[in-house]
């Protein structure tokens, strides 16, 4: 070895989410430098101290409501300045919302779309230009999407539309980066059912429910290889293929 591998500088948007925190733990154990962004300053502080004890070479914190950023580019520049550059940006923030409310109330729908699609999309586009400057061998932009974005279903299609739109954006972004010969990778990790506070109201049982740590491991792997669309856990690729192929007449008869 002629040189030691450089410390990877990772910005984690939505770091107080269950999957975000689990991912941060895995990265801390690798000795990465982390910048955590979340709304709740108290939670952020607790999470940051824990990550420092897990081996993160640096833990920076920023409190922000990512859905209401004035200038996402300037915001990322601020984070980048604190870490001395950016080698990866991970996007975890999102809300499940209430489908019935979103369908009835346009302002509730707007909020859902703002958080899950618009802010994530704009931050992704702003992040990718900044990642171009990274000297790290595999700079990566990774967002957590959802299998809900694979087919519109009565139970959560507003949320699904936002996550589906984000997946299209990542697919296109990855295509664009590859064609331009960039070493930056864009990957969306489509999660299935995950046992997190976001899904606290659900009855969670059976083999389809995954732990946040399982999804986090997929995200960490996606930072190095694979994509642009990765399912987490992997079996959702087959499940969603089957659901996409289901004729609408059959779909109309099932409660999904």
């Amino acid at each position: 070895m002629t040189e030691t591998s450089p410390v990877r500088r990772v910005c984690i948007l939505g770091a107080a989410s269950a999957i975000g925190e689990e991912t941060a733990r895995l990265l801390a154990a690798k000795g990465d430098a982390l910048a955590l962004v979340a709304r709740d300053a108290g939670r952020l502080e607790t999470i940051a101290r824990d990550l420092a004890s897990r081996g993160a070479s640096k833990v920076a914190m920023r409190t922000a409501d990512l859905a209401r950023l004035e200038d996402p580019g300037a915001f990322l520049d601020g984070v980048s300045g604190e870490l001395g550059g950016l080698d990866a940006v991970l996007i975890f923030h999102g809300v499940l919302g209430d489908q019935a409310e979103a369908r009835a109330d346009p302002s509730a729908a707007l909020r859902l779309l703002e958080v899950n699609f618009i802010s994530a999309a704009v931050l992704s586009l702003a992040a990718v230009t900044r990642l171009e400057a990274s000297g790290y061998p595999t700079p990566a932009l990774v967002a957590v999407g959802s299998v809900a974005g694979d087919r519109g279903r009565a139970s959560n299609f507003v949320y699904g539309a936002a996550k589906g739109g984000l997946a299209i954006l990542y697919q296109g972004l990855a295509h664009d980066l590859a064609r331009g010969g960039s070493k930056v990778r864009a990957v969306i990790v489509k999660a299935g059912f995950v046992d997190t506070p976001m899904t606290a109201a659900f009855d969670k049982g059976g083999p389809l429910w995954a732990k946040p740590a399982t999804i986090a491991a997929v995200v960490v792997k996606a930072m190095e290889t694979g994509g642009p669309i990765v399912y987490a856990p992997w079996f959702w690729r087959g499940v969603m293929l089957a659901i996409r192929l289901l004729p609408q007449t059959a779909m109309n008869r099932v409660n999904l």
């Binding site: 607790t46 999470i47 101290r49 824990d50 004890s53 897990r54 081996g55």
Partner: protein
Amino acid sequence: MLEESRAAGLSALAVGLGRSYGDSGLNLGQAAIDMSGLDRVLAFDPDTGVLRAQAGLSLGEIMRRMAPLGWFPATTPGTRFVTLGGAVANDVHGKNHHRAGTFGASVRRLGLLRSDLGEIEAAPGDETGLFEATIGGLGLTGIILWAEIQLVRIGGTKLESQSLAFSNCDEFLALARESEAGFEHTVAWVDCSARGSRLGRGVFTRSNWREDGVLAVHDDRQRLSLPADPPGFALNPITLPMINQGFYRLFTARLGKRIEPYASVLFPLDSISGWNRFYGKRGFYQYQCVTPMAAGAAPIAELLAAIAASGQGSFLVVLKTFGAKVSPGLMSFPMPGLTLAVDFSNKGEETLALLTRLDEIVAAAGGRLYPAKDGRMPRSMFEAGYPNLETFTGRIDPALSSSFWRRMHND
């Protein structure tokens, strides 16, 4: 969570990694609060070794993160798969009890959530008496949210061990006492099938940290696993003496010194995932008692004679001395004396009758049983063993309960 369970008319109990043997970690038919999500380090001072962490963090995780920095829990039970909250609630002890005392002796402060007082901090000597009640308090004095503990310095992560054979309980006691001053960890295995002149024979192991400056984290891989229940006939009065004879030969063949990583000395069973399945579908009871030092080794010899005569027991038998360091806990199990732990394959009435016979010996010697290991002790045995029970009962949180606690009240 507490309000949710109360609204549903249920008592609650915080649960960790489920390593208690009996029903003290269960709240059957009521509510259990999974503490596994509260697993963060809240503060750590690398100069003083004071660690404050949430109750759901496991001791294994603490070691994994602190051992490379040269810090280690002051004492650890026989498994690293216990949470910080569980270690406090059961006031667990380890192979260094004669020096370090119980886990509670290393606790400086506690964070509790009480249904009547809200979130509070408890420290030794507080007017509420909640610190003393919570250590060894079986999780009944409030939900333990976090604990602040004093870690100890280690100069390496390996232990240098020495094993010696002994031929009876008196020889064990002499060896244990002679080793107390010079060795951090002491423990013995006993052949619980041996009778007559061989009664109380076993192998004594004493270890010290090796101060070689090499700090390596333990290996978390579990090499063996018991994925399914083997048939329950593996241990019977014919095979058990043969198995124990085999272990005696094996252990006595490798007497002398050896150097091993801490995990293989302190947590030998942790490398076998699902080891508890060995006893088959009907499971097992573990019986762990302590008898006072004043009675010497005689009660232990009497217990071993009763066990050998019954043909029951196991090859998992641990004998150790407890030292004089007093725990702050009102309901702490250890007292200066000898502690014997034996697994018994569950053979129904036959096993329960033997354990009742053992109770008589322990009670006559002025000893007591360990609630964390118990699934059957009568209330009288619990009352006799724990003189602070009444004071403790006055400090429990009215919204909390456990299967063990209800069993102790319905007998």
